[in-house]
Symmetry: D2
Subunit: 138 residues, 4 copies
């Protein structure tokens, strides 16, 4: 499977008094990779004036922490999809610390497709699903 | 002038690698005090199904840092209003570190009243202004 | 098993453009409950000038999202421990939205005991473990 | 004066229920630009095993908000220094919203040079000051 990769740096506010990136921030790194992935793909699943009208709320998030990330470390988030369903997607994430050359974390996030205006789950837009499958070659 | 006081604690995620609360978080402490102040006052300036339809976007924020706050320090935010105008409010904030018994910060935030649906500035709702004046006795 | 309960409110900065609390913030609510639990217990596992010298880094974090939390909702975090090992603890969390009267999330966090100065894992201090067991009655 | 420019994107977690970037996050954008500026300059003012031993704690921070930034907007932070003193620096920041083509914010941050181990203020390291002056051509 092809992967999308996104690089960012550990900033001051990402760290805590233990002098490492706070564990909650890994989920934010995951999400930033997901956002840039959509930009890369040329899709705006969140609508932009057109007929799309969906949110992708998260129903589960998980992260296993493998080695710490410190201030100013450069990290790379690898994003793949292990399941693309009719109404949900399971994204898998890996974070590689390029500064320490160690795996920093592995995790996943399950998102569902929901009507932005009404809240209930709805099928993923077909063009969105097909672009995902095309990118990941699944 | 009467003041509103709100207490909270410095959490792990509030701190950074310098082992003190990150400077941006003082603005979040300010805002939490403002939110609880509105709850205390019994007003919901942000509407709740009724005819109120305002946001209070910030047009300026300032903070001077006087002494650091560390993990688990108990802090008290003191909120007063130095100006209540037709369309804006200037809130003054002081943060007292109750653990170190030192003043931690002084700051202010200027908010304007804006239509939530249309964005442009509108007069502060009269009942909101009058409750503010009554609380602060100005 | 006895549980520790901690209440807090969903603040502006906790929410995102979907007008609900951002999924990463649930982990921060978990951690705040854990911090106040230690304060309640009268232990400072992170040392405070004495001979304790530990961190409790997280090795895994998980959350399942059950219903959204909106601005100003009052939430209650329930904390229990499903495993207290020689060098690790598994905390279980539930978040109840007191405003909507719905379960908002369920999750867990696994922490290990590590030397703050040297980083490697070390046994949990005996007095800390025994206070945990006494509180949870396990 | 020459300026340093840093681009980033407004992420989900940066926004709040008003569907714009939260006012506290502008200070985080400022800081990220400052961090990348130091990387660009090839200085690590925070030490890295060598004889440098300083922090740059903030003594004042200010931001005026000019126009909102929304989810996925690309923004550019412009960093200049209006004062480089013996023990302090005043950085000026401007944020341009490249998506809306509007100025989003103007602000400043005053930092002092402090001993990381002992906390009191100390002179800025000479090589750091001279690189700053060289970059900004002041």
């Amino acid at each position: 499977m092809k992967a999308y990769r996104y690089r960012t740096r550990v900033t001051w506010v990402d760290t805590d008094a233990a002098r490492v990136a706070h564990f909650s921030n890994y989920f934010r790194y995951f999400e930033r990779a997901e956002q840039e992935f959509y930009n890369k793909l040329g899709v705006d699943p969140f609508g932009g004036g057109d007929d799309r009208n969906i949110w992708l709320p998260r129903v589960e998030a998980n992260c296993r922490y493998l080695s710490p990330c410190k201030l100013n470390d450069m990290i790379e988030v690898e994003l793949t999809a292990s399941a693309i369903g009719a109404k949900s997607i399971k994204y898998e994430f890996g974070i590689r610390n390029l500064t320490t050359e160690k795996d920093a974390a592995k995790g996943y996030v399950v998102v569902v497709s929901a009507s932005a205006s009404e809240g209930h789950s709805i099928p993923l837009p077909e063009d969105f699903s097909s672009r995902l499958r095309k990118f990941f070659r699944v």
